[in-house]
Structure formats: structure tokens, C-alpha cells
Amino acid sequence: MIREFHTPRTVDAAVALRTELAGKACYLAGGTELGSTAFRTESPQEVISLAQVLSTAISADDGGLLLGAGCTLQTISVSENVPKVLRDAAKLVANRNIRNMATLGGNIASNKTFASMLPALVVFDAQLELADAGGGRSTVGIMTYLGRGGRELILAVRIPKKPGRRASTAKLSKSANDIATLVVAASYVPDNDRVREPRLAVEGVADHVVQLDSIEAWLEGSPLPSRDAITDRVSDVVTPKTSIKGSAEFKTYLAGTMIADALHRAAADTRKVNA
């Protein structure tokens, strides 16, 4: 039962409130997770609205692209400045009403195993600009943030420049609006015929998004392997559980197949995604 609704006007005020109300309050952005009986995992007594705190701007500079954490997924899905693959990722949320409400920061912070943006952000080496509890600002890699339980306030997401990078993302779900069984993303930088800096991420095989470091290491510097070879490798390293969405065997097969397809699709996509 929510008893207080705070609307801080500055980032620092929001962070201070959160520190003061530790254990009782949480941030509220679009509210699509916090407000939904299907997804809510916390029942805070107080909420700290980020409505007046978060940037909704999308801008580009020498360091790459900067997306305010308050951007809605709908804004991202139609923004010409945003690489197509990130737009595609936002559109994986097929429900327009949810896209209109859900924020980028919320999609990351809620860290669900179907979060549409996460695999794509991971394969773009996204950096998160955070407001720390002590009042400072810091920048961390998205996997680091998620790995440590991601409690800090996300202010913005930076997509570093990476000339020549190719990428792709996809989901498998039973219907358009169904919560994805699996979401994958893959990227790499072609170096003549070699794969450089491969990034692979998959959801639906563990509680949270998984970056496939061992497969990335295997791919690094080699020619792009066949889809079958990639599938076999990926299938060896993922350990999904059987659920209402499908058997473990199915998800294992799918993770391998979809990662392989995503990589090959990325290879076929000759657009310079993020030059």
C-alpha cells in the first residue's frame, strides 16, 4: 500500500530521499512494472517519482549517443538518431500503450529476463550514467550495473561510438504481445573476414540477461563460423529451465539458433550501424 508520493525536483533530492527512506521507498518512472499486478515485485510504502528528474533527451556527441533514462520506449522506437537495432529492440515491446509509458531506465533497472532493451544495450556496450547514493555521479558498464543488483538511479545511457559495428536483435514469443520466451542480440565489428569485439546477449535462459563471454572469446579474431557451429556452442553454455513458455530443451535449442541467426543477420546487414 503506497502511502506517500514524492516528486523531487532534482536528482540529488531524489537520491537523498531514496537514502533516507531506504527499504521503504523506490523510484517510479513510467510505472508500468511497479503499477502492474503482473510484474510488480516490490510493494513500497512510498514512491519517489522521477518525472521531474530524468532527462528525456536523445543527443549525440563525440563519445557516442546519449539517451536520457526518462525516454519512453515509444520515443526510442521512432527516433531517427537512434541506431536501428535499438529502435527494433524498443519495438519488441509490441504493446503501444506500454511503449508510451515504459522508460528506458525502468526497462534496465527492472532487469527482467524478457526486458526488450537489455540484450541490444549489452551488445552495444552501453554505459550507464548513475547518481550515486553519496551525491556523486559515475559511469559503469550495463552488465556491471545489473550484476551488482542495480539499485542506483540511472540518469542516462551512453552508447559508445564503434565504427563499423553490425548488430541485430530478435525475440521469440507466441504472439505479438506475448512476453518473450527468448530475446537475443548480437554484434561484432568486421575486420576483413574476421570477427572482432563480438558481443552476444540472451534472455530467457536464466533469471536475468546473460552475456555469452565464452562464445565471444571463441569468436574473437576468427572468421564468422557457420550457424550450426554457433548453435552448438551456445547450446552448450546455456542452462534454461522448463516453464510455461517451453521446455528447457526447446529454449536451449532456440538460444543457439537465434544467436546464430542474429550474428549472421548482423553480418548480412551492411549498414554502418554506429559509425
Partner: protein, 954 residues
């Protein structure tokens, strides 16, 4: 706390609680059109508003999130009584069916009307992608938006919403819009929830956590002692009467096998107790105080478990019969805790073997037919448990008015409800009034009494008004679902494809109680076998009790399951014989003039008889489909991972139940020569009231606006069996037509007297004039004459409609799928439904019925499924996890083509629409999948995992 915001352009200040939902706050602020379909999941969009121009779901927003923002609700779309161009386009395009989603849909697409460039189909679909509509199939919204854009420039624009099928008539056979369209498009008060008074009490049910158990003890004292709790009902104080909840005509074929509350619970979610309290929250809190001790029994969930030797028995109570008591009736081992079962007539049940009902029959000689065959094919097929999911869950509001029980119900069967209440409450029918409110979708689930009797009992006992509405979860676990059915189909054929023998074995799972347990599975046979002509045909139907959530009526009523089995088997036979699917269908199908001998042993509620087919659009449908989908062309995709295939199915339904159904209507002339039509017919959003109004206006030669309609109110309108078995247009419409014809004769007689000319010299002319050879008289003058002090009295005529002809509607469905051979994902590229419903009375609404029916069954085919665990608990009792089709699931090229035939027995040549649309998708898609990737998927749903397994990839 106070928030400031703008609502529909006006600055407002609202007092809200920090944790209050935006829906509640906006409703308190007087906003209309905010509905609830998912209990705060955020998955259905029924509560949507525009927030700063973007559509959002208010149920997942906190009220304080609205601060400083601009909200637009449905009230901001219309101005006073006027409808906007968008609303009028919605009405004319036929997208306002039940209307429950309409406010959200209007708000969803409104920005597309104003944008400078014409929106693409994809943009319209995307705009609606968060709003669930179970009725329309989404397709016609594209045309509605286009029409609205035209109308903003030219208010007189008509668009191209549907073909004209009868240019000799004024209203019948052409799009006119729905008579209740404007009311619904403005979100006027229409549904049960709109009728609930502020002083109403509320009911909450305590439900069983076990699939099969006896209630050893139940202590309600703590709940009863709570302030604000009015009464608690359990098996101890409910009426000691066994009944069936099936809304069928008396004597029902469904067994009376339950009480309002039983001492035995038979499924997870079965009723244990009801609390009536002064608020919903109090009722919920009181449920927690009820202490129940169960004796847990082993459940049976599947047909295999229910039919196994020594299986636990779902029903062990004593049995009796109203007629046809068998000589060997033996109740010696009955357990009274199970409650009594009464059969109104024998339905060949055997509760010792968990058999709820059974029937067998056939024509010709099956053995001989199989002996003559060059090829025999035997296959099994399975349907899964799917739920009707009307956007509005079940709801009822009961109150006493001057000592009579008044029931506002979202029901398909107001008169059956009245009859059942009378028996349960021991009241004469004249003390009860049932008013059918607008239903936010029904689809068969609302043919049964699933909560109404508890509210009626509580109101009658306490004298206080009671509101009861299911949650979405309750809708899944205790409303109605399609019977899961297992089919064994055996076909014998000559080398050239001609059938020599057809056998269908049907095993159905009715769940805990036997509503529709005989008739649904039988309909799976009676609507699928007669599609193919074969002299030797037979069937066995057995329905089992089990402890799964209850099955019952669902649009199509067994026919979709039967069509899947039969059409698949025919396609498999074609493959076996090296023939084309379309060719084998053509060779064996029914056609105009065919006699359907098999119906001799498939009577519904009365002995069967062979029937002749007088109109049949299959030939045209198959020919058009072959051409339009380029049946003979093999398609390829530029992506080598994608395989494309085409499939088809032919389907049949009925037009009501001949010999059982009956409808009545009264048409009365008012003082100015306008008319009131009192119709028993139950419009569920399908457009029945429009059909009936058209019939009267057409017959009496007046504008539709000159005919008002009141329908489905047991006090105000005459009797009708209700809306099921696709009876609406044919029976209820037929009654309105007969009443109008009767009144026409009277009007002519009176005019003849007034004009002094014989009736043969008179013409009835539009708009309401009787013209003789010399003079003419208007309806207003006739009304004045007849209603004056020297007149013969107000002109009125009551008539009924009953029928003997089955008037089968037919459908031919073609589809093209693209299967991703790596992921098993199936994409529908094309779906064409060729629907023969005789004369389409409301063509735009008939198309809407077709799109809606098809999309529902696309859902059943591809993803919808109630998943139960080993204990019988439904694991996905919500829209998000059960998965319902949204606009993103609409086939890329989706068409409904009405094949106009003229049925000699139907009103204006009409047959039924609606249910028929549900039969084709599963077999058409499954055969297309086979065409694409060479595997037969013989069970619903055709999930990627199932496809991959069949393709040997898993």
C-alpha cells in the same frame, strides 16, 4: 493529496490518495468510458486514456502521476449528443460490436485521423496494439480510420465499408450502422457495472484450493461477526436444489448435477462459500476468516485418467430421472455428500465410469464401407482448453423493486435465467424480472448462469441490492471453456478420393459438471460429418467428468474442434492418395440439393431426421478461394529459412435449433406513425437489434429511425430462448419480421376502410404512406384515427418464429502461412474467409463477426491454451500469460468475403453468421503448415516447440 491536471481541455484539481489508481481517480472525477478487463495487469487497454496525447493504461498508473498533465478521455471525443466523424466512422465501419473496448479504440486511433499524411495499415494496427478487442478481429478499424479522415473533410463521405447485397431493398443487405452504435461510441451507460447503485452490497467467493475434495467442516462464524458482512452462504444454508447452470431450453439435456454450493468441491476454484458484504474489500477480508477443513481426494484431469479402470469418481451421488428411468437404476452405493444428479431424460451417462453423457449412431454399413476402400486412414486429433475471454467478465446486479426480484445481467439467456431463478428461489416467474444489459462480449460463456443465482439468492434472502463481478482469474477458473476433445477419425476411400466410409470417435472432457456435456461434443460430429457425403458413416461420442475447470458453450459449440479433426483427416487422406486437398474436398463435399442422411441420428434435443440443403456457398467459396490465393502456385520466400504453405477448410454451422428454438416480437404503432419493436432477442453486440429493426423498417416502409427497439427484458418484451446456436438473425429477427408483416396487414385493412378502397388497390410506400388508386393516407393519420375515441385501438401485432428448416450456413477458409523453419514460428500472411450466411443483413457487421470469429480461433490454433499443473491448477489465468490475439497477430492480408446465397426459409433469405466463422482457422492453418514444412500438427495450439519437434529439430 491534491493534484492539478487538465481533463478534456479543462483545468481540474483533484484530491487523490498517493496509492490510488489513476482509473479510480478519473472515475471519481466523472470521466466515463473507463473499463476494466484485466484487473490492473495493464494488458488489455480497456482503461486507456490519452495522456499528453499518448495512449496509456490508467489502471497501472498512480493518480499522482497525472499531476501537471493533460488527460483526454472518451468524453473529450464527442460533443454533447453529437458523435465525432471518428465515432460515426466507427459505427459505419462496423467496429462497434459489444462496445466495451470502443472508448479505448477511439482514443487509440484518434491521433491518426488528425495527422497530415494518411496512416499505413501498420500504423493503425500499432496504434491499437495495446487494446484487446475480442469481438472485431481488428481488421475493419483500418477502414474506419480512413473513413474518419474523409469525413473530417467531407462530413457526407460514405466510404466503402461493405458491398450492397440487396439493391432492391432499403436497409436489408446494406451497411446502415448499428442502432446502438452512437450510444456505445459515446460510452453511454450500458453494461451491468453502469447500473449498480451506490448502496449495493458486494459478493466475493471463497474458492476451493483443491481439485477434488469433500468439505469436512466449514466455520463461517468469524466472517459473519464482522461489521458490514451481511450474509455468508455455504452448502449448509443454500437452497437444497440440484440444477444445471446451462442456459438451455427446458427440458435441458444437461444433467442437474450441482447445488449452489456443494459439500464436495470438484475443481480448483469451485465454490465453497459466498460472502455478501457492504463493500468488496470487506467481503474479501471476510473470506479470510472462513475456516474450512477438507478431505482431499485424488483428482482426475485428463480423459485417460477419467476413463481408467478404478479411476476416482467425480460424482458418486444418487441419481434420478424425470423421464425414461432405466429399470436397473441402482443408488445403493451413492454418497449423499456428492449431491443428487437428476436427468430430465436419459443421456446415456454412467457416473461410475465418470461418463457424463454418451451417444452413438450412424448410417449405412461402416464395415462394408471400409471393406470397399482402397485406402484407410486413421488418425487422432486433440483440441485444448481455451477460454472465451469476453473483455467484460461476468457481472450481475440484483435488487428488489417493490417486492420483485430485478436482475441486471450480462447474459445470453434472460428467460432461461428467470426460469432457473424461479425454481431455485421457489418463486413464480411473475415475481422476477431479468434485464439483459449490454454484454461486453459473451461468446457462449454468458449462456450459462455462473454467478447470477448467488446474487439473486442473496438479494431475495436479505432484501438488499447485490453486485457481483468476476475477476479475470475467476473468469478463467470458473466460467466456461471449450471442451478439450480427443478425436479418432477413420476414413475409407477409393483411389480417386471418393469416400466409402467415415467414422468419428469423440471423447470430450466436460470438467466437474455436465453443462452442455452431451450437446457440445455431439455438435462436433453434427457440424463436421455432414460436410462430406458418404453412405456409410458412424460416430461414438463419450463425455467424461473430470476435475479441470468447467467446460461449456463457446462460439462454435464443438464445431471448431470437429472441423479441425475432420478437415485435417481429409487433407491427410489427400496426401495418402497423392491428391490435392482442394480436389478431395471438392469431390466429396455437400452442395445445393444434397440430402444429409447422417442427421437422422444427430437430432439435438429431439429425434433427428435427414435434411436437405437448399442453399450452399461452398462451390463459390472454393472457386473464389482457389483463384484469390493462387492455390495452385507454390510460393517461396526470399529468406531460405522461411517456408510458405497454403491450406483450407470448409465449415458448417446451423441457424438456431429447429423445433426447439422460439422467438417472439411485438410491433406497435405510436401516435405519430412511428413504431416500437419489443423483441425478445438478445443482442450481444453482434447487431441483432439492428437486424430486427431493419426487418421492421423494411416491411413497414419507414426509415430505421422510425422504429425504436426494446429487447431482452423479461418484463417488457415477449419470450425468446436467447442468443445461442446462431439463432439471432434467423429466429429473433424472424419473429420481428413476422410481427411487422402482421402489423402491415392490419395497417392495410385500416387504410382500406379509411380510403374506401379494397386492400388489393393499396400500396405501402416509403416513408409510411398507404396509397390507393385515388387517395392516400399517412401512418400518422392512421395512428390518429385508430387511437382516437372512436378508433379501433392502438395498432399492435405480436408474432413468433419457429422453424423446421436447418438453413445451414457454410464457410470456406483459405490461408497462407510462412513458417520459420529454424524457430518454428508461424506467421499468417493471408487469411480469406468466404462466408455463406444467405443474405447478409448487416454486411459490415457480418464481416466484423467473421473477422472476430476467425481471429479468436487463430488464437486457439497458435497460442491460446489453459495450462494446468498436476493438481489441476490453472497456471495462466490472466490475459497476459494465457495470451489473447491483439492487433499485432492479425494476418497481413485478412479478408472476409460474404458469399451471397438465398436461403428460402430464412428472413429475407438470411442464414446465421458468427459461430460459423470459428471453425476454419485451426484446420486451414494446420494444413497450410503441412504444405509449408511437411508435418502434421494434430493438436492445438501449433506452438513453435511443437512444430520444431514435429520437424525433428528437437
Amino acid at each position: 493529496m491534491k493534484i492539478r491536471l487538465t481533463i478534456n481541455g479543462k483545468a481540474r484539481e483533484l484530491e487523490v490518495a498517493p496509492g490510488e489508481s489513476a482509473t479510480a481517480a478519473l472515475k471519481k472525477a466523472g470521466c466515463g468510458g473507463l473499463r476494466n478487463g484485466c484487473d490492473g495487469q495493464g494488458s488489455c487497454g480497456a482503461c486507456a486514456v490519452q495522456l499528453d496525447g499518448e495512449l496509456v493504461n490508467t489502471c497501472i498508473l498512480l493518480a499522482p502521476q497525472l499531476a501537471g498533465r493533460s488527460v483526454k478521455t472518451i468524453d473529450g471525443i464527442s460533443h454533447f449528443r453529437d458523435v465525432s466523424p471518428l465515432q460515426s466512422a466507427f459505427i459505419d465501419a462496423g467496429v462497434v460490436q459489444c462496445g466495451y473496448c470502443t472508448p479505448s479504440m477511439l482514443l487509440a486511433v484518434e491521433p491518426l485521423v488528425a495527422q497530415p499524411e494518411a496512416p499505413t495499415r501498420e500504423q493503425v494496427m500499432d496504434a491499437m496494439s495495446g487494446v484487446f478487442c475480442r469481438c472485431t478481429g481488428y481488421e475493419q478499424f483500418v477502414g474506419a480510420v480512413e473513413l474518419a479522415r474523409e469525413r473530417t473533410k467531407n462530413p457526407a463521405a460514405k466510404g466503402n465499408v461493405a458491398k450492397v447485397y440487396r439493391d432492391d431493398l432499403k436497409f436489408v443487405g446494406r451497411a446502415t450502422g448499428k442502432v446502438d452504435g452512437a450510444h456505445l461510441a459515446r460510452a453511454g451507460k450500458a453494461y451491468v457495472e453502469d447500473r449498480v447503485d451506490a448502496d449495493a452490497c458486494h459478493i466475493k467467493l471463497l474458492r476451493s484450493p483443491y481439485a477434488h475434495a469433500y468439505i469436512k467442516s466449514i466455520d463461517t462464524s468469524a466472517a459473519e461477526a464482522m461489521p458490514g458482512v451481511v450474509m455468508v452462504v455455504t452448502h449448509k444454508n443454500c437452497p437444497d436444489i440440484n440444477y444445471s447452470q446451462a442456459g438451455q431450453g427446458y427440458p435441458e439435456p444437461s444433467p442437474y448435477d450441482r447445488k449452489m454450493f456443494g459439500e464436495k468441491v470438484r475443481h480448483i476454484g469451485d465454490r465453497v462459500a459466498a460472502v455478501m458484504a457492504e463493500s468488496r474489500e470487506l467481503a474479501a477480508a471476510a473470506l479470510e476468516k472462513i475456516v474450512v477443513e477438507y478431505e482431499v481426494l485424488e483428482p482426475v484431469l485428463t480423459i485417460a485418467e477419467a476413463s481408467a479402470a478404478g479411476a476416482p469418481r467425480v460424482h458418486k451421488g444418487p441419481v434420478d430421472f424425470i423421464s425414461g428411468t432405466p429399470d436397473d437404476l441402482d443408488n445403493s452405493d451413492a454418497d449423499p455428500r456428492d449431491g443428487r444428479i437428476t436427468y430430465l431424460f436419459p443421456i446415456h451417462a454412467d457416473i461410475r465410469r465418470n461418463i457424463a453423457a454418451s451417444v452413438s449412431g450412424g448410417i449405412g454399413d461402416l464395415d462394408k464401407g471400409f471393406a470397399e476402400a482402397d485406402v484407410i486412414l486413421e488418425r487422432t486429433y486433440k483440441s485444448s482448453q481455451v477460454q472465451c475471454t469476453p473483455l467484460e467478465p461476468h457481472a450481475v446486479y440484483t435488487k428488489l423493486v417493490e417486492g420483485r426480484l430485478v436482475v441486471h445481467a450480462a447474459t445470453q439467456v434472460p428467460w432461461h435465467l428467470r426460469r432457473m431463478f424461479a425454481r431455485l428461489l421457489d418463486l413464480p416467474e411473475n415475481r422476477i424480472r431479468v434485464i439483459k444489459e449490454h454484454c461486453g462480449g459473451a461468446f457462449g460463456a454468458k449462456q450459462d448462469m455462473v454467478l447470477e443465482e448467488i446474487a439473486a439468492f442473496c438479494t431475495w434472502t436479505t432484501g438488499r441490492p447485490v453486485s457481483h463481478r468476476f475477476t479475470r482469474e475467476e473468469e478463467f477458473v470458473s466460467s466456461r471453456t471449450r471442451h478439450p476433445i480427443e478425436f479418432q477419425v477413420k476414413l475409407g476411400a477409393k483411389k480417386d478420393g471418393k469416400l466409402t466410409a467415415v467414422y468419428m470417435g469423440v471423447k470430450a472432457n466436460t470438467g466437474p459438471y455436465g453443462q452442455h456435456c452431451l450437446t457440445v461434443p455431439m455438435n462436433a460430429v453434427s457440424k463436421s460429418l455432414p460436410l462430406f457425403l458418404c453412405d456409410n458413416a458412424g460416430f461414438d461420442v463419450v463425455t467424461y467428468y473430470s476435475n479441470i475447470p468447467p467446460a461449456g458453450a463457446y462460439q462454435g459449440y464443438g464445431a471448431p474442434q470437429g472441423a479441425f479433426a475432420m478437415q485435417m483427416a481429409m487433407a491427410e487422406l489427400a496426401e495418402e492418395l497423392g491428391l490435392g486437398q482442394l480436389d478431395i474436398v471438392e469431390m466429396n463435399r455437400v452442395g445445393e440439393g444434397s440430402w444429409l442422411e447422417i442427421l437422422r441420428c444427430l437430432g439435438e434435443g429431439r429425434p433427428g431426421k435427414p435434411e436437405q440443403v437448399f442453399s450452399c456457398g461452398l462451390k463459390t467459396g472454393l472457386a473464389l478461394g482457389r483463384e484469390m490465393i493462387e492455390w495452385d502456385k507454390k510460393e517461396t520466400h526470399q529468406d531460405p529459412d522461411i517456408a510458405i504453405g497454403k491450406g483450407l477448410a470448409i465449415v458448417q454451422q446451423g441457424s438456431g435449433l429447429p423445433g426447439l428454438d422460439a422467438s417472439n416480437a411485438t410491433v406497435t404503432m405510436f401516435g405519430d406513425g412511428t413504431f416500437m419493436l419489443l423483441s425478445g432477442g438478445t443482442d450481444l453486440g453482434t447487431g441483432l437489434d439492428t437486424v430486427s429493426t431493419k426487418f421492421v423498417a423494411e416491411t413497414l416502409c419507414v426509415p430505421m429511425e422510425a422504429v425504436s427497439i426494446i429487447a431482452a427484458d423479461t418484463d417488457a418484451t415477449p419470450f425468446d430462448v436467447g442468443a445461442y446456436a446462431s439463432s439471432g438473425t434467423y429466429y429473433s429477427g424472424g419473429a420481428a419480421l413476422n410481427a411487422a408483416k402482421g402489423l402491415k396487414n392490419i395497417i392495410l385493412d385500416i387504410a382500406s376502410e379509411m380510403l374506401g378502397e379494397p386492400v388489393e388497390h393499396l400500396d405501402m410506400l416509403y416513408p409510411g404512406i398507404i396509397k390507393g388508386k385515388n387517395k392516400q393516407v399517412t401512418y400518422a393519420e392512421i395512428a390518429h384515427e385508430t387511437q382516437s375515441g372512436v378508433g379501433c385501438g392502438q395498432l399492435t401485432f405480436t408474432s413468433n418464429f419457429t422453424g423446421e428448416a436447418p438453413s445451414f450456413p457454410y464457410g470456406t477458409h483459405f490461408c497462407q502461412v510462412a513458417v520459420n523453419t529454424r524457430t518454428g514460428n508461424v506467421k499468417l500472411q493471408k487469411y480469406y474467409a468466404f462466408q455463406d450466411s444467405g443474405t447478409p443483413i448487416n454486411p459490415e457487421l457480418a464481416n466484423g463477426q467473421t473477422f472476430g470469429g476467425v481471429l479468436k480461433t487463430i488464437g486457439h490454433s497458435l497460442f491460446e491454451e489453459m495450462v494446468l499443473d498436476d493438481e489441476g491448477r490453472c497456471l495462466n489465468p490472466n490475459l497476459l500469460e494465457y495470451i489473447v490475439p491483439m492487433s499485432g497477430d492479425v494476418p497481413d492480408d485478412f479478408r472476409s468475403i460474404l458469399v451471397h446465397t438465398d436461403e428460402p426459409f430464412g428472413p429475407f433469405g438470411a442464414k446465421s453468421i458468427s459461430e460459423i466463422a470459428c471453425g476454419g482457422a485451426a484446420p486451414a492453418i494446420a494444413t497450410a503448415i503441412h504444405d509449408a514444412v511437411g508435418v502434421w500438427i494434430r493438436s492445438w495450439p501449433f506452438t513453435p516447440e511443437k512444430l520444431l519437434r514435429a520437424m525433428g529439430k528437437l
